[in-house]
Symmetry: C2
Subunit: 255 residues, 2 copies
Amino acid sequence: MSISPYSYSGSKPKASIRLAANSCPFNTACEGCSSRHISLCNVLDSNDLKSFSKLSTDFQKAAKQIICAEDEKAEHIYNIRSGAVRLSKMLSDGRRQITGFLFAGDFFGLSCKDKYSFTAEAITEVKICRFNRTKIIESFQDYPRLGERVFDMTRTELNSTHDQMLLLGRKTAKEKLCSFLIIMKEKSGRINVRDENEVDIPMSRSDIADYLGLTVETVSRQFTNLHKLGLIELDGAHRVFLKNSKALLALAEGE
Amino acid sequence: MSISPYSYSGSKPKASIRLAANSCPFNTACEGCSSRHISLCNVLDSNDLKSFSKLSTDFQKAAKQIICAEDEKAEHIYNIRSGAVRLSKMLSDGRRQITGFLFAGDFFGLSCKDKYSFTAEAITEVKICRFNRTKIIESFQDYPRLGERVFDMTRTELNSTHDQMLLLGRKTAKEKLCSFLIIMKEKSGRINVRDENEVDIPMSRSDIADYLGLTVETVSRQFTNLHKLGLIELDGAHRVFLKNSKALLALAEGE
DNA sequence: CGATGGATTGAACTGGTTCAAGTGGAGTGG
DNA sequence: CCACTCCACTTGAACCAGTTCAATCCATCG
C-alpha cells in the first residue's frame, strides 16, 4: 500500500507556525488536491485572485491544536490547504458530537454569524489559509459569482448534514460505520487518487465514535465485524481497503 | 387554555385546493404570524413585492398531504403562510428521520439543487405560497438583499442542524424531549404570543419520535416522566404547559 | 353506538454502553 | 539495539437505556 497523504505523528501540540506569504488564495494551487475538490478559484480570474491573496494569511497547525473555538468571535473564515480538520460541538459534561471532517480544499467559518458555532481542531498537521470574514462577505458585492459559490457550498453542506441526521437518528452501528467508510472513500478520492478502494482514516477511533454517535468500543467492534464479513481489510488503525464497496454501500443505506 | 392556531382534524387527505390569487409574496402579511418571524418582506419595497406576488401561486393542503417529495425535480420553493409542515428523509425499509418542523413564515426548497433532498408533508391544514425556483434564484441578481437574506436563512438553518446532530448523537431520551419542548416553545412564540409557556404540539408522537431518533413509546414515557417530575402539565396530546422552563432548558443542555 | 387510530402503559428483550483487562506499535532513553 | 513507557486500539463480560411486542385506553367520527 502507498504512503498516506496525512501525517499521523503522535507528537504533542506545538505553537502554530506562521508560513511565508504565498500564492494560495482559495486553494488555487494547493498541494495534494486533485482538480475535483470544491474550490473558489474557478469563479475568479487571475487578477482577482491576486487581490484576494493579499487578504489572506497562511499558517500551519500541528495535530491536536485548536484552530478556532465555539462561541469565540467569528473573525475569520478558513480554507484548508492540506491535512485534516474536525468540527465539533460539546455539551457541558464533555459529551461531544463531531459535525464534520474537513480536508484539503474545504472551507469553514462561512456559515457562522457573530460567533463560531463549533470548535475546529487539527487532526493531522494542517496548512491553512485564513481570511477576514467581513472583508470576504463584503467582497460578494464586487464578485457576485463568489457569493453564489459560497451559497452553493453552504447548500451542499446543509444537504449532507441532513443525511447525517438520518444516520445519527435511525441507522444501526454497522450501517453507521459502513456509511462512514463510504463517505471517507469519496473524500479520499477527492484528495489523492490512488486505488479508490484504499481509504485513509486520519482520525482516531474516538473521533469516528463522536462523529457517528457511538462509543470507541462499538466502532472498534464494527471494524472487526466488517473484516470478519470479508468486506474490508485493515492495515493498522488508519488505513482500510474496501474489498466490496458495493456491499458496503448497500449496508450503509440499510438495504 | 386558549384555542390552538393549528387544526388537528383527523380527516383523510383531500386534493390540494388552489386558493384565489392574493397578496402574500414572502409572507408580507400572513395570517397568524407575529412580526418576529423570519420573513423576506423587509428587504423589498412595496413595488418589488408586487412584482414578486405575480410570480407566486397560493394553495392549500389538508393534513397528511405531500407538498413535495424527495428526489422529485426541485421546481419550486415554498413559503408557509399558516399551519405546520414536516420535512423528512427515509431509508428504503421505511425508517424515517424528520429533519425539521416548519411553521408560518418558514421557507423550504431553497437549499435544494436539482432535486428535493427531503419530503415535505402537511401536519395540519396548511396555506402555502409557491414560487418558481429558477426565477427566484435569478432575481437575486436584481435584488441582492434578497439573496443575502436567503443566504442568511440557510446559514441559520445549518447552525440549527448542527445542534440537532448533537441532540441525535449524544443526548439521552429525557434530554431530547426537553430540547424538543424548548424548541417548540421558541417557535410557538414566533407564531402566536399567548402565555409563552403554553406550547402547541401540532405533530403526532410518531413525528416527534422520528425527529428525536426515538420510538413513540419512549416519547410518550418521557412526557409522562416530565409530568411526574412536575415540569410540565399535559392538556391532551397536543398542548403542553411548561411549568419550569428554566429547569427544562437545563435538562435539555445536559446540566 | 361501534369502529378507527393515536396515545399510553406494561413487560420482556437487546444493541450498544460501560467497565475492565489485554495488546501492539511508536517514541524514549539508557 | 533493546527495554520501558505510553496511549490508542481491541476484546471480553456485565449491564441498562431504549426498543419491541402486546394490551389497553380514549377521543373522534361516521
